[in-house]
Amino acid sequence: MNAQQNGTKTSRPSEAQVNKPQEATVLDRYEPVIGLEVHCQLKTKTKLFCGCSTSFGAMPNHNTCPICLGHPGVLPVLNAEVVNFAIRFAMAVDADIHEISVFARKQYFYPDLPKGYQITQFDLPYCTGGKMVLASGKAVRLMRAHIEEDAGKNVHGDESSYVDLNRAGVPLIEIVSEADIRNPEDAADYLKRLRSLVRSLDICDGNLEEGSFRCDANISIRPRGREQFGTRCEIKNLNSFRNIERAIKYEILRQADVLDQGQKVLQQTMLFDAASGKTQPMRTKEESHDYRYFPEPDLLPLRIDAARIEEQRKVLPELPEAMARRFQEQHALSNYDAAVLTSDKDLANFYEAVVKRVAGAVTEKIVANWVTSEYLREANNRSWDFINPPITSDHFGELMELIGKGVISGRIAKTLFEEMAEKGPGNGPNAMVQDQGLVQVSDTSEIRSVIDKVLDANPGQLAEYLGGRDKLFGFFVGQTMKISGGKMNPQLVNDVLKELLDARRKG
């Protein structure tokens, strides 16, 4: 893989001419048309058609049995939980769940496909339609979603490739959007929302790096004003939201460049190379795929009745949109804060746990500010997992309480939080505040004596202030806080300083 990525520095002439400055003019002239296909690995305990574990990270071929190895004579039996998960997804996007759907065999030869065919759904998927609403307010229509089995993994060495079938047979739902998306930002937003949705539904862990949430993008461009779609290319290998946006942007420019040169876009499958930021055609000869689909004779049609749908409706968790609305009302948050906090169900749970812990000692808005800024920043930098973060909701709540009760200042709290993030929370913020003597000074006589010293030590500035330079007020606050090591209650420092300066002005 690495050799491949490093070895492709020389680009074709047309690629060399693709450069950023063109972007604005390209988008003036061409309209991108984007459709997305997402494969979500479902979080079931076992595979789609056999009782092997789906646990990630096992040694190669340790989670395999005659069925998922495609030994002679084996037969598939459908995992009920997969159907339940699929139903929940369909309900969440308001899709039509079909009373009858059919599994089919999609045939091709590849070492990671043990049977020589993939069991999937073809002309009768279990659901069609539905939509996802984006931040921009735009609704992206879904074409369909269907249940299918995953392939294994091929690992490429220098001379050989190696086949690991642990993933072979893991259940997927493939979610196909209509070509309703018109810019890379909306594409990324669609995917983020879809990921957030499947995580809220608790049917997929949405991990792009580990491949449990995988995206292929179909992209074409057409001159603005034209109705007819252009020739599309499919980009594979998109394993982060950032790369998805980069790849789509690059591909749009590449296709525009081809058209601008009077050439035709070839329908082909492209791979995105994150190192170079470029898309390039897959090296395998593009064969005209003839998958020879036919109904899977080893399974009967799948029938989903109304009773089963109702059963699943009862266990449907709160979905991101509804949760965001509730956060705005219940926690008196802004649209923005609510959206950020509910973008991930585990983050939302964390926030609500903190709010519960502080029990009004500090406002929900302040907790939201802290979670969306300080906490998220550290979490992102340090790749925390929101389910089991190193700083628990209890410790974080404790920190919020210290602020709310005026025990420490916001500044101290930030320092303390950074320290907790860096070194771990130890015995918690309360203990840290005690041990390090960080308790905020709220004793006005102590504050008064420090300020007196500050004013006496800076006669020049004092004279200027008294002469009318009001801006120097901040200078005295700063000096006072510096001497106190930031432990003085800033509101009290303000009040006392004002009082003392006024006294000197009069005196």
Binding site: T46, C52, H62, N79
Partner: protein, 103 residues
């Protein structure tokens, strides 16, 4: 359905899809044999079927109203990795070995 001409090109194309390599002589043999069978099979064309538009072979399978059976999502265990691997014609560690795949 117009009569299918089974020429050497068609035999090659089908062998290609089925991942079979045929000698020139075999191509001739299968061309002849497949021609014979296909021209016989083409009599299906003359069957007047009156099943109606709604009838589909894929949804008609099984007893009326039957849905494919489902199993509980319970781990029932895998083969030992040794048993999974021991019949592999070529392996490296616990992975199956194939010639390097170009992507």
């Amino acid at each position: 359905m117009s009569k299918i001409q089974v020429d050497r090109e068609l035999v090659r194309k089908v062998a290609d899809l089925a991942q079979l390599s045929l000698s020139e002589q075999e191509i001739g043999l299968y061309q002849e044999r497949l021609s014979k069978v296909l021209s016989y099979v083409e009599q299906l064309d003359s069957v007047h079927e009156s099943l109606g538009k709604d009838w589909r072979p894929d949804t008609a399978r099984g007893a009326p109203g039957a849905s494919t059976p489902e199993r509980a999502d319970t781990v029932t265990g895998s083969l030992s990795v040794e048993e999974a691997m021991k019949q592999a014609p070529a392996r490296i560690g616990t992975a199956f070995q194939v010639p390097r795949i170009l992507e």
